[in-house]
């Protein structure tokens, strides 16, 4: 790891100013569980590191005005163990607690996981299925980006240099959901494939990770299921459609074909809970 200059601003404005002043050689440090590893491996080599954890009010998890808000510095363990989240959105809590180890989750943040934009990001599928919105702060002030538009490619988002994600939120909703993670080892492993299926009345929202360059919603499968009563036949048809809708790759963790097969297994098992 090379030497770098460390900044710990206490306001968003201050943070933005540093990022803008230092330019592309500055990196945002949140939990650090991705950035520090990349720096050690020589993949990232920032000259300036801007720690946003000291900015006040960024580690909130709150439900107000009909929205659930997760602050940028909220830790995965805090999110996973939050009682309101556990009660109302247990699949979101389960996803948070499925990432890394307990020690890693004591540093890692939900927003960091989203901004890292890994195709298999553990927090992406539940938040995609909840139609979440990403809140961004820049020198222009605040703006919102729908999470489904936020991911652009592997490790690429719409976020520009000089912008900071302050949090993510979604509308309070009565829904059922299932989070599933298949990994080589059950604990402390990356997803081979992960998914969330949310049911709100007769509407289904289906998202998968590690089956495309970004975490994705399966729009065609969702459209097929919309308004339908679940039956064995319908579920099988949905599974077939889902398999055709994903585009996984082969790597050392799994083959393209196994990932594709897992998509239908995971979707079938998720939907079968309501059948």
């Amino acid at each position: 790891m090379n030497a770098f200059e460390y900044f710990a601003p206490t306001t968003l404005k201050e943070a933005i100013d540093i990022l803008n002043e230092k330019g592309e050689e500055a990196s945002i440090l949140n939990g650090g569980t991705d950035l520090i590893v990349r720096m050690r491996d020589g993949i990232s080599d920032p000259k300036y590191v801007v720690d946003i954890k000291k900015i006040k009010g960024m580690d909130d998890i709150r439900i107000e005005n009909g929205r659930v808000f997760i602050g940028a510095s909220a830790l995965l363990n805090d999110l996973g163990n939050n009682q309101d989240i556990q009660k109302r959105y247990p699949f979101l809590s389960k996803a948070a607690l499925s990432i890394g180890s307990k020690q890693v989750r004591n540093r890692a943040t939900c927003i960091g996981n989203i901004c890292n934009a890994s195709p298999l990001a553990g927090m992406a599928t539940p938040l995609l299925a909840l139609n979440a919105t990403v809140h961004v702060f820049g020198n222009y002030g605040e703006k919102d980006i729908l999470l489904k538009d936020f991911f652009v490619f592997v490790r690429k988002t719409l976020l520009k240099h000089g912008e900071i994600v302050t949090g993510i939120s979604f509308e309070e909703q009565a829904c059922l959901g299932v989070f599933t993670k298949i990994s080589r080892r059950r604990k402390v492993d990356l997803s081979t494939v992960c998914s969330t299926v949310v049911k709100k009345y007769d509407e289904y929202r289906i998202s998968f990770g590690a089956v495309a360059p970004t975490p994705v919603r399966l729009n065609k499968t969702e459209a097929f299921l919309k308004g339908k009563m679940l039956s064995k036949d319908i579920i099988e048809k949905a599974c077939e459609l889902a398999m055709s809708e994903v585009s996984p790759i082969s790597d050392i963790r799994a083959s393209e074909s196994y990932r594709r097969e897992l998509v239908q297994v995971m979707l079938r098992n998720s939907l079968s809970q309501w059948y």
């Binding site: 059950r186 799994a254 196994y258």
Partner: protein, 778 residues
Amino acid sequence: MKYVGKSIKRVDGIKKVTGSLKYVDDMKFSRMLYAAVKRSPYAHARIVSINIEKAMAVKGVKDIITGDHYKKRAGLYLEDKNFLAVGKARYKGEAVAAVAAVSEDIAKEAVKLIEVEYEELTAVTNAIEAMKPGAPLVHPDLGEYKTAPIFFPKPGTNISNHYPLRKGDVENAFEEAEVVIDNKFYVPHVHHVTIETHTAVAQMDLDGSCTVWASCQSPFAVRQALSEAFDIPLNKMRVLSPAVGGGFGSKAGTTLEGIIIPLAKRNPGRPIKLTYSREDEFENTYVRQGMHATIKTAVNKNGKIIGLKNEFVWDGGAYNEYGVNIAKAAGYACAGPYDIDNIWTDSYCVYTNHPVGGPYRGFGMSELQFGIEQNLDIVAEKIGISPIEIRLINGLKPGGATATGEIVKISGLMECIEQVVEDINFEEKTESSKPNKVRGKGIACGWKAPSMPNNAASSAIIKLNEDGTAHLLVSVQDIGQGSDTVMTQIAAEMLSISPEKITIKTGDTDHTPYEWQTVASRMTYSTGRAVVEACKDVIDQLLELSQIKLGLYKRDLELRDGYVVSKIYPDRKVAIGDLALGLTFEDGSGIHGPIIGRGSFIPPNIRDADKKTGLGEHPVAYWTYGAQGVEVEVDLDTGQTKVLKVASCFDVGKVMNPQLLEAQVEGAIVQGMGTALFEELILKDGVLLNPSFVDYKIPTADDMPEMVIKFVENPEENGPYGARGVAEVAMVPSAPAIANAIYDATGIRLRTIPLTAERIFEKMKVLKRGRRGSCKNN
């Protein structure tokens, strides 16, 4: 007995639990330099040139060496390696240059600036292909290498050792057999994954003495190897191993010490430190060798195996200095713990451009038994008997003969099989409560002998203190297996003083007595016996002095709770502390002086096997036998396997410390389970694709099965209190038992490990079976 056989708490426990124990990487010295290593990016390449100019110019860099600075070859059994590549690099990651600098960061920065020009050569990445005529040679100069006389390299090929075993009339057995079955198995390279990475510090003084602090299992073997490699006499070469955070064989030989000694030689007075990263561990230390096994079995319908034809091809990687002995060990163990009259085996160690193979818990037995135990199940099914029956029919019993023709004196194998069959409830099939999950049970046996030179020696010294306490000096290294505690227990029992009164000192070739190596599951047996002998020496001296002091005949005296006591008049006694510095008379004069006990041990009468036939009456110290039964649950949707329960039973001769022994076996089972389900060094064209914990998975707490751990105690003739070793063999049956259980559950037999979810899933698809059908006909 008061201390032996009891669950005495670990004597090294408090320091380890509180973190106060100092490991080598904790050591800091004034004027210390830090080393970093430039490594080959190619699996096989000629080194055209190395330019160190830019690197030398970095401020804080003190020295840089390349293979040209030290060309003498080294190696434990076959001198085939250089610590820094000379002429060509033979695996991806091989050290080609090393930097010494005032900080680790500077050293690493300088490494980046070393410019190496390579001419890439065709890499040899398959051991079977490597054996064929015309294959590119990894070591064209093999014929010139010095080798121990019990190993047989074939110059002009990639074969570094061939161990043949020829017993009985195999052709006739196969002609007469009612059933003949052919099977192939493959075990990939895996890694030890010790919690502490390799680390060493070396310092050369101007008087020519060299001191090495290393996290190593075998200070004396390291001293010997380094002394020879660097022409330093043994009295000037000191190796200290203050603490070892796990070994499993990976710290048995020399690895990184040889990189820093040349730097230390050029920078006298300055300690040079090198600590490996986790990535270094995976790529640049020993790995468990890959192995291709062909097993052909001649069997009669009554279940009796009458003939065996085996070929084992070991993928030894770039240097086979240690691996040649693994091929040998597999050669003489080639039938497993089974009594078979006619055997033809060829075991080959083969050079490839893969990471360097070396010792790993089991020393070949896990790889061997993975095939043997699955083969047995396949044979049993073919002739229509149960996995238990075939093992009971063919398993080695007292009076039977091993593959080398040695007549078995002691074997608790049958008792072990019966115990695990009962504990795993083998005959009763259980069902999962989930419709998409199936359960199955499997059994496998294991055996192992210490793989060591016939004359591998141990010694111990006991110094009695004037307050009745004692120091025990040995050089077995406690690498987690608990040797410090067991050696202390033996001394406590022999001397009849409590373990708290004994302080054990290990790991300093200048101050602790000779020990061949901490390997081969031989420490309790061999060092333990040396401790017994040292205690006898102390006792003899104490009784000599006591008979003068007490006026009672030696024969009638014994040690009891810190005193020499008369067996006839128990009130007549003398505290051993009062005799520690010799016997003092009433006039103040004294005799004898301090009591120091000395004990040495070499296992008696181990003799070389015949070079042509591999047969021998007593080629090893002893065999340890045992069995494990496993229950698994397989998810038919995903192929994922969960090991639910493992029942284990080994004949250990004598349980020295129940708690430590159970822990030892638990660890072994989990390590075996890791290799069965997750672990594999994924190599492509000689490049390791998963050199970190991100993609090399070992079991976590979540994966722990229920474990039922039992022992049988048929005493070993020469072991202390009848004990024999079990540390390695305890993991040997785990992987094949899991493979057999998965077959029982699903009808799927993969013949390779790891048995990953994806592999099981793919096989399920290929077999196109219904969700709950059966396909047990392979």
